[in-house]
Amino acid sequence: MNKENHHTIARIIFSILWGKCDLHDREILEQWQSQKQSRRFLVSRLTQPRYLKSGLQVFTSFDSFEGLDTLKREVKRRKRSRMISRIASGAAVILLAVTALLLYPNRGLQEEENHLLTTSYNPGASKARLLLPDGTQLDLSSQTTASQGDFRISGYDFSNTGEELSYYHPADMEGEENEINHHILQVPRGGEYRLVLPDGTRVWLNADSEIRFPGHFRDRERRVWLTGEAYFEVVKNTEQPFIVETQNMKTQVTGTAFNVSAYPGEDSHTTLLSGGVVVRTDDQNIPLKPGMQVLLTAKGSEVHSVVAGDFISWKDKRFAYRNRTFQDITRELERWYDVKIAIPDQQVAQERLTVNLPKYEKMDKVLEILSDIACVKFIVTNEKITVLPDK
């Protein structure tokens, strides 16, 4: 059925509404309707006042003037982002400037480039929320000085610097019984935070992560639950093994330094830096030595030898990637800059890169570096960033 026939049927239906439908047209319509039941339903819907009224409400809610405005803004945005990627992949002089950016973040250049993009995503900062068993919530961040300092809340003693929350060893809490509820520290997208647990273990939490732990470690084990990513430096205590439980893995240690990454929907991994751990999955117990990593994919678990330092660069000032896919890299950027990045082209997504990115720069800086190295261009809108090959 071609476009002309659509129009004919629509015109006939409209003429029924008009009250001016001749016999000939009625025959055409009847013949058309009789071929399919769904067509009869269509005609009866379209002659029903209630259906027409609600349909018109929807129809008129799509305003073409608003739509045109949105389109014009998008056109401007694309022109600007094309300018950025051309700068990054252009002449030798400009290439030198980009290399300089990699080595020495130059604030002067940053000022200039901010004019070129209307939407500039800011890097993350220290922020977190603490949930106590009695329901109290504490917002912690480097911006809120009110939450910084030493204090006691709900019977627990803390110290908060705006970047790190420390629990004091609760020597005088012997009376507490049956503490089933745990404490939860939540780090949002675009955030990061450090935690010192009641036993002195230090934890660095990456963006979009959450750790659940008891107010003091009483049991035979020190057990915590993690979603997202954290790096641990565990205080040695052979009588009380430390266990990090995630959805698919349990990592058991006695005293050691390791990184656990368990974001929902992504492959989980545990990387050991020093000491020793045993990673338990559903069907295996995998002991690790320093420099080794357990990777859990849909197919099962794999053990790799890695440069462990790469996997904890996030807790310092950089994101270091060695032969990682573009997809993996943008996922981390999505969490840190709290933005959506779409890679429609599978070849681009699976491309492997080795790159070292500064964490605390505005996103356009990072995108420049990536577009230079990976031969891609970025289309930036308010809602998301799309990555396309740049030929």
């Binding site: 129009h7 239906i13 409209f14 769904s38 067509r39 027409l52 949105t70």
Partner: protein, 190 residues
Amino acid sequence: MNRIENDEQLITDLNTGDKRAFEAIFHRFYTPLCFFANRFVEDEEAARDIVQEIFMWLYEKKVTFDSLLGVKSYLYSGVHNKSINHLEKKRSQSRIREKIKAGLSEAMEEADEYLIETEVFEMIFSAIEELPSACRQIFKMSYIEGKGIRDIASQLNISEATVKTQRQRAKKYLRERLENFYPMLLSLFF
């Protein structure tokens, strides 16, 4: 949204990249295309995004057309494809399973029916657009958006008496100019 434009001239201008022609095409097809997309994806925001992307293609790809019907085909088939894509991405499992079971011809039939719906609504909308501008706005706010006289008066910063007068004018105009259509509109809005 005047159709005074000569269609041939419009296409020639569009092909040479004339911005004004692009905008005329935009205004002509934007609303029905969004309505069409929305019938598939049942998500007004997503429908707007889809239609915007198709117009971006039109703006950037510099395709040449030989008729208005050609432009219309291009736009509608683009929106159709993107809508199906969107449904698949959203993993609306049950809807996809339905469609796969039904087969390709059923999918085309569905598109045809949504197209007919869209055209009928376009025609009704055009009839309303023929009202003189002052009473048209009040007619829309009264009978399509369902706003009360007091709301309309305060929103447009006019007196309630004026609102009532304009509503009467709209009814009178419709009664005179759109004779036989009037009873149908009446039942729609009263």
